[in-house]
Each structure stands twice: as C-alpha cells, then as structure tokens.
C-alpha cells in the first residue's frame, strides 16, 4: 500500500483501526476499548505536530509521516530465540526480566522469576484481561492526550509493561525490561503502553531498554504512565538504543504524592529521530524528583529531549542534570521546563543542561525555561554549550597521552556526571562501553 491512497498519514492510521478491532476479538469488551475509541476520535481531530508549534519548533517530524507504519498487532510478530536476544541484555546482575517484541509481551523470552507477594510485573494486556480493577483508575488517567502521537498510541494501545507494587512492598531486584523491535516485510509501529504504580511505602527499580534487533526502519511510539503514592521510592532508568533508521517517541507522565522520591535516568544512543517528553507532576508535599539525562548523537541523528517538572505543592525539591554529546551532523534539542505553581512555596528547583559539540557540523538548540508563580522559592537553571576544553586536552597530552585517548578521557569525564548516579555497578560499566562504541572512539576502561 502506498501513501497515494490516503489523503494524509492520519487517514492511514485511522483506517487500520477496523482490522485492529477484529484482531482484538473478545478483548474489545474491556474498559480500555472505550478509551481506544475515544482516542481514535481525538486522533481524527488532531494534526501531527509541525514546526510552528512551539513545543516542536526544532524537531521536524515529517520524515516519520512519510511512511505507512503498521501497528504491530496488525502484523506478524517476528520470533527470536533466547540466544538471539542475549546480546541486548544488561547482564551480570540479578533481575526480573521482561521481554517485549515490537511492543507485545513475550512469555517465552521473559524470565520474571519470583516476585514479592502481591507485586505484579509483566504484560499490561494480561492485567486488563484478568484484573482490570487494578489499573482502570490509572490507565490513561495520568497522561492526557496532548498530541497526535500519544493519541495514536492510546488508540492502538494493546500491550506494554505493567508494574504494580502494593503498599509497603519492596522489590529488591531490579526489573529489567527489554523492548526489542524489528520490521519484517512490513514497516512496524511498535507502541508499548507502560503503566507503573507504586503504592504507599513501596520501592521498585526498573530498567527499560529499547533496542533495534537489526538496523532497519520502524517506529517506536511509547507512552509511559507512572504513579508514586506517598513515601514510594521509584527509580526508572531508560536506555534507548534503537536502530539507526528507527524513529523513537516517548511520552512519560509521572505523578507523585507526598514524600515520594522519583529518579529518572534517560540514556540515549540510537534512533534517527528521537523525541522524549518526560513530565512529572509533584502533587504532594515534600516530594523529590531527580532527572538525569545523557544523550549521544552521531551521523544524522536528531535527538530532542523535552522535560517538564510541575511543582504543584509546597516544600518540594527537583533536580535535573542533562548532558549531551553531539558528533557528526547530529542535531540536539533540549527543552527543560519548570513551573512553580502559585501554592508551591518553599520549592527548590535546579536544572542544568550541558552540551558538548565534537564536530563542526553538529548543532544544538537548548531552551531551559522557568515559570514561577510563587515567591518563596529557590530556582536556578544553567545551560552551557562548548567543545572539549583545549587546555585540558593539552594538559593530558603533555603527560604523554595520545590525542584520541585524551579526548576520550574528557568525554568519559563529561558523561560520568550522569553515569555515576546510576546505582547498579554492572549497568554503569556496560553503559560506559556503549558510549565509546557509539561515538566510535577509543575506549577508557576503569582502573
């Protein structure tokens, strides 16, 4: 099928819904289906964002709209063996492993193992089928549709990660989630819909890893919702290493109740056009939020990180550190928004964005943004753009270190501010390796 049959790409996606509905069979009776239909209606009334939209000023999504992607449910799922997926996993530490292929849960490949009593980790689809009462108050309630991409995700929402930690439960081992994507004969639209709910006084640590099986073209369009109840501690570490040609768009919407702590890490390597929206609502007193981000881009990659921290209640703290390393012809975009609402007195909010340009042709557009409506606050943001410091490089070289290695040392040091905040040693090491692999540079090892 080609584009000519459809006036625009939106009609293409709207037209696929009938087939999707058929594939759902009995599952179309769930509460979720009403939401899907609403979202489809919303989608039909929305246009995909264009550059004149301030939120998408620096990111041109038209290449994504050139292709007729087919929602993974409407297509054939590729089969992978455990051996084949091994190289995509972060290894050498104990974890609960959950695997999604093109956004759809794979029971054979997952090794969830024993979870504490009452804790659920696995497929959202299964929960909607079996225990809808657990999720219907949260699913699509946290993240409101605000553009055509997340409308598309909601309309075709089918499966994704579900983690539900009841009050007082602590999940000791991290949950590792692998999202492996690959297009076969058809161009695949992979649309995981993730939901993470942490009850009062609970703790959970999740690593999500978005990968391309081979370097082909597909589109990952993700929505993640996260809810942290009082005193909950959640850590979510997202690693994005999609294929060179892939498109990756994720919207994360988190909501935190009082005294909760949310750490979000975003480490980005792959994708040709990448857009992350990471939004957190601090909806209770004394909450704490940390964002750590590191994005690398090379070749013609376009990487756009939009973060939004919404201080709605008093006495909260947020801290954000985003670093970018841009090489080749890549284009980086950072937009960090912090809003301190009228009542949110005694807010502390900090934000930093630092970017290094490694080549003459790399480009960065950064926009830190503060909007403050309360008076008793301490807020600051900083942004810097530059290249590797020449005098530092000279210093290292004067100690007999070759130029390329000296550069790598500086890159490593730059990235380390973010990487060192990750608590799992093995994960840290493997990420360090990926940094150099991705930039095609001499690697620095520990010691």
């Amino acid at each position: 099928m080609n584009n000519l049959e459809f006036k625009n790409i939106k009609d293409w996606y709207l037209s696929g819904f009938d087939l999707f509905e058929k594939k759902l069979n009995g599952e179309s009776k769930s509460f979720l289906h009403e939401i899907r239909k609403d979202a489809l209606l919303t989608l039909s009334s929305l246009d995909f964002p264009a550059n004149h939209n301030e939120e998408w000023k620096y990111t041109n999504v038209s290449p994504i709209l050139k292709y007729n992607f087919i929602p993974a449910v409407n297509s054939i799922l590729p089969k992978f063996s455990k051996k084949e997926i091994e190289k995509f996993l972060f290894s050498n530490f104990d974890c609960h492993l959950i695997v999604f292929i093109n956004g759809i849960f794979s029971e054979e490949l997952s090794e969830i193992g024993a979870l504490p009593d009452g804790v659920i980790a696995g497929s959202l689809r299964n929960i909607v089928k079996e225990n809808p009462q657990l999720v219907n108050n949260y699913l699509t309630r946290l993240s409101k549709i605000d553009n055509a991409f997340n409308a598309l995700n909601t309309a075709y929402s089918f499966d994704g990660l579900a983690v539900i930690v009841p009050d007082g439960k602590v999940v000791d081992k991290p949950i590792q989630v692998l999202y492996l994507n690959s297009s076969g004969d058809e161009l695949i639209l992979s649309q995981p819909r993730n939901l993470i709910i942490a009850g009062k006084n609970s703790q959970v640590n999740i690593i999500t890893n978005y990968c391309g099986f081979d370097q082909n073209l597909y589109f990952s369009n993700i929505v993640t919702e996260l809810y942290a109840d009082e005193n909950a501690v959640i850590s979510l570490c997202k690693v994005q290493d999609e294929s060179h040609d892939a498109f990756h768009i994720e919207k994360l919407q988190a909501s935190q109740k009082s005294n909760s702590l949310f750490n979000h890490y975003s480490i980005g390597f792959g994708g040709s056009i990448v857009r992350n929206d990471i939004n957190t609502l601090l909806d209770g007193e004394n909450t704490e939020t940390h964002y750590y981000g590191l994005y690398l881009a090379n070749g013609k990659q376009h990487v756009d990180n939009h973060t939004f921290i919404d201080h709605a209640k008093p006495n909260c703290m947020s801290n954000e550190l985003y670093k970018g390393i841009l090489d080749g012809n890549s284009h980086g975009v950072f937009n960090g928004k912090i809003i301190v609402r009228h009542d949110a007195q005694k807010t502390n909010a900090y934000q930093q964005n630092k970017t290094i340009l490694l080549s003459k042709t790399a480009k960065i557009d950064t926009k830190p943004q503060l909007e403050i409506f309360a008076n008793d606050v301490k807020c600051s943001h900083g942004a810097t753009v530059g290249k590797l410091d020449e005098s530092s490089e000279f210093y290292i070289r004067s100690r007999g270190v070759p130029q390329e290695l000296a550069k790598s040392m500086l890159i490593r040091a730059f990235a380390n501010d973010v990487i060192e905040t990750i608590k799992i040693d093995q994960l840290r090491e493997q990420l360090n390796h990926m940094i150099f692999e991705h930039l095609h540079r001499v690697e620095i090892h520990n010691q």
Binding site: L370, I372, G382
Partner: protein, 495 residues
C-alpha cells in the same frame, strides 16, 4: 482637552533623608502625571492608505518615502497580530487610534526664547529645563513633544564635528542618501507586525550620524513624552556610527496619566561600522496603569543594532519601570569579526504590569562576543518574563556568550519567567547561560532592620544592590534617576 490637577509631591533631593523619602514613596501616585494644554493637530481615528499619505504629506516627505510607507502599510495589512508573548491584554482596535498628532504651532526656532512658554513649562515639570541641561550637563536634548521635534539644541556644536543630530523628518529632507541607505536596513518593514505598522505611520524620531573617526563629545539624549489623548506614538530612531566613531545615546521617557491604553510601537535601528561603537541607554518610565491595572502604556518596541564592521560594538542598557505592558527585545547582529554585543537590563513589574523582554544576540562573524545581564523584579500582580535568543551561526568561529538572568520576587501574586533560546551551530562556540529566581532575602531585610533601617528602605537598598551590575553601565545622570525610579515603582510592595 481635559486638564488633570497636578499632584506632584515634592521631589526628594537627598536619598539619605529616609523619612522624607518614605513619605514620598507612599504618597506618590504617578509623579509625572499631568497634561499640557496645547492644541494638537490630530488626524481622525483610523488607519488606511489615505492616513499614511496624509502623514507623509504633512511632513513634506519626498515621494520615495511615501512609497516606502505605503509598501509597509500594504504588507502590514497582510500580517497577523503576534500572540506568542507571555502577556495578556484586550485586543487592540487599530482603527480606534489616531495616527498623527503634532503641536499646532510648529516652531522653527534658533533659541529657547522663541519656544512656546507652555512647552517650556512642561519640560520643567519633567525635570529637564532645557537651558539648564544645555549649560550644566552638556547634554544636547532633542525633545520630542508628542510626535514632532520642537527644539533641537547643541546642533551647532555638533555640526562643527560633522555630527548630524536631527529629527528623522529633517534628515529625510537634508540627508536623503543616508536615510535611503540605512532606514529599514536593520529592521525592515517585513520584520514584524509592529515594525511594519511603525514603518507605515511613524511620526518622527531621532536621526544621528557620526562621521568617520569622530567621538561624539557629549551624550545625546531625547526625551519622549506622549501627550495627546489616545494618540499612538510611533517613533523611529536611526543611529549610524561610521568607522571608528563613538556615540552614547540616552533615551528616557515619561507620560501623563490617562485611562485609555496607549499603544507605543517604536523602532530603533543602529548601524555600526569598523571599530565603531554605540552605547544606547534607555530609562523607560511611562505610565504603568493604576493599582488595579487600569490604563497604562503598551510598549511594543523593535530595537536592533547591526555590528556591520570589524571590532564594532553595541551596548544596550535599559531600565524598564513603566508601561503596563513592555514587550521588546533589543538585539545585536554581530556580523563583523570580533564585534561585541552587550545587553544590560533591569525590568520592574509592580501592580498589574507585565513585561516580556530580553535580547537577541545573533553571532555571524568570527570571534564575536556577547554579554547579557538581565535583572527582573516582580511585585504585586506583576509578571516578568525574560525571553532571549543566542544564536551562533555555522561560521561564527570562536563565538562567546555569557548570559545571566536573575529574578527577584516580592509578594505571592507575582510571577517570574525565563525563556532563553540557545541555538548553536558551531563547535568552537562557548555559550553559557545561568538563571536564578528567588525571593527577596528575609535575612537581609532583618539585618538591615536591626540596624534601624525601615523595611521599605531596606528593600530599596537590596533591590539597588541586586541591580547594581546594570546601573553601573548607565551614564551618571541616568543612574541616579534609575535608582529613584526603582524606588517609586516598588513603593508599597513589601510590608
């Protein structure tokens, strides 16, 4: 024309006299609110090609100027009003504005004695007695009374050096080549909605030309004053500094109290050639509206300077305390290699004032440098936004920028916002941006209180310290005035 009773509290002479000052602060409404009773030659409300032609004819402009205005007007008609600024105001009815107003007598005078005594009184009330200024401070004053230049002083002294300091309408007649070459070259009428409107209907403004190698011996200054009711003021300023020239230009303004909002859409263009420098300072104190936010001036200004030559420099300094809405981004196009752009700003919003201001630094040439220091103070229901753009082009090797924007908040109903845009396309560029927002320090106030300093004075002191980095860039006379203005603007905002 309605005549409003003067209610001018005695001016504070010495800042050390705290009690007196406090008294003054709490009593002062808008200090410079009065209307001069002079007949104005005002065109009927509305805007169409006829009005544009009328303005042009009224000013005896040559045909090419009329053509240019008409082109701008036609372009303006096709444009949409911009809405992106972080300010709120009722829609402006552009047909409900009178686009031309000139004092009926247009004196062509050589000495002050010939000036209408009413006018002279106005200037005295403004605190700028021409003779005194002329003799004591050595400042040449081109007083723009409403829209037409009335008296230009020191012209002769400047003429000796070859400096041209006149109104734009005079320059159009006397130096058409210069005007043709530079007018609209930095801010073309296609630039934005209000620049197009200005190009179509601009009434008058200042024209400055500093010839090659000349250092202007005095600070040039224009006092603007909006006078006729409901007359939009569309000023146009053009300053050209030839190779190796230097000029410092001051712009300051006050306006009388009135109920209807007034639109002010000025355009300022600066052109700097090799090794030349322009320093442009503004103290803006137009009527900000009353305590409920009623009335006040809309100040939608396009200011831009082009550093065309090597080693050229433009420095903008602004103190924005007035206007109900301030919406402006004085910018620098750093085209010449090694050129320098600077922007120092203090913006105060009290009561229901809104400000969306900042700067644009466009780095094009090699080794270009820019510094941005912006201080925003919000009190009452005021909303203060910093919006800035730092763009480093592909060929701007070694470009360097440092930006600092700090906001201070007083009271729990105000807002402070920052929207900095940084776009870098050259790896050798170094760009730094930092911003902070915080409340006025309670511990600092307490410290001063226990030294026997009243809270209001303590606040003034702290705020003045907060703004010092910017004030020190202002010429002497302005710095004093700016400090007083700040105190008056923030009167009653704490405690």
């Amino acid at each position: 024309m309605a005549k409003i009773e003067e209610n001018v509290p005695s001016q504070v002479e010495e800042t050390s006299d705290d009690m007196k000052m406090l008294d003054d602060l709490t009593n002062s409404e808008y200090k410079w609110g009065f209307i001069t009773d002079i007949d104005s030659d005002t065109v009927a409300k509305g805007l169409n090609e006829k009005v544009v032609i009328f303005i042009s004819q009224k000013k005896n402009e040559p045909e090419w100027m009329t053509e240019w205005r008409l082109k701008a007007f036609r372009y303006w008609q096709k444009m949409e009003e911009p809405k992106w600024a972080n300010v709120k105001y009722p829609p402006i009815d552009f047909q409900n504005i009178s686009y031309y107003s000139a004092p009926k007598q247009k004196p062509q005078l050589n000495s002050l004695e010939e000036v209408d005594p009413e006018l002279l009184k106005t200037f005295e009330k403004l605190g700028i007695p021409l003779e005194e200024q002329k003799i004591l401070s050595g400042v040449a004053v081109d007083a723009v009374f409403d829209s037409v230049s009335v008296a230009t002083t020191f012209k002769e002294a400047l003429k000796e050096k070859g400096i041209i300091f006149s109104s734009v309408s005079e320059a159009v007649k006397e130096h058409p080549d210069l005007v043709k070459k530079y007018l609209g070259s930095v801010v073309p009428y296609t630039d934005n909605y209000y620049a197009a409107l200005n190009a179509a209907v601009f009434s008058d403004g200042s024209f400055v030309y500093i010839p090659k190698g000349v250092r202007c011996p005095m600070e040039l200054s224009t006092y603007f004053r909006i006078n006729s009711q409901e007359t939009g003021q569309f000023e146009r300023t053009l300053i050209i500094a030839e190779e190796g020239a230097y000029v410092s230009y001051l712009e300051g303004c006050t306006a009388p109290i009135r109920d209807n909002n007034q639109l002010h859409a000025a355009v300022v263009e600066l052109v700097v050639l090799d090794n030349a420098q322009i320093k442009y300072s503004t103290v803006q104190n137009w009527y900000p509206g009353d305590k409920e936010g009623k009335g006040g001036i809309y100040n939608f200004v396009t200011k831009r300077g082009a550093c065309r030559g090597k080693n050229s420099k433009i420095s903008w300094t602004q103190v924005e305390t007035g206007s109900s809405i301030t919406w402006k981004y004085p910018g620098c196009i750093l085209q010449g290699d090694n050129s320098v752009g600077e922007f120092y700003s203090v913006a105060v919003t009290n009561n229901y004032q809104q400000a969306d201001t900042g700067t644009k630094m466009i780095h094009i040439g090699k080794n270009t440098r820019s510094t941005v220091v912006s201080k925003g103070i919000s009190a009452g229901h005021g909303n203060n936004s910093y919006r800035g753009l730092i763009r480093v082009g592909k060929n701007a090797e070694g470009a360097r920028n440092f930006t600092q924007c700090d906001s201070m908040l007083m009271g729990d109903k105000c807002g402070a916002h920052t929207f900095p845009y940084i776009e870098v396309e050259n790896e050798s560029a170094k760009v730094e941006h930092e911003a902070t927002t915080s409340k006025i320090g309670e511990d600092q106030i307490f410290y001063l209180n226990q030294r026997g300093i009243a809270t209001e004075d303590a606040v003034n002191m702290i705020v003045n310290g907060f703004c010092k980095e910017v004030f020190k860039e202002l010429p002497m006379e302005f710095a004093v005035e700016a400090q007083k203005l700040l105190a008056i603007s923030l009167e009653g905002s704490v405690g």
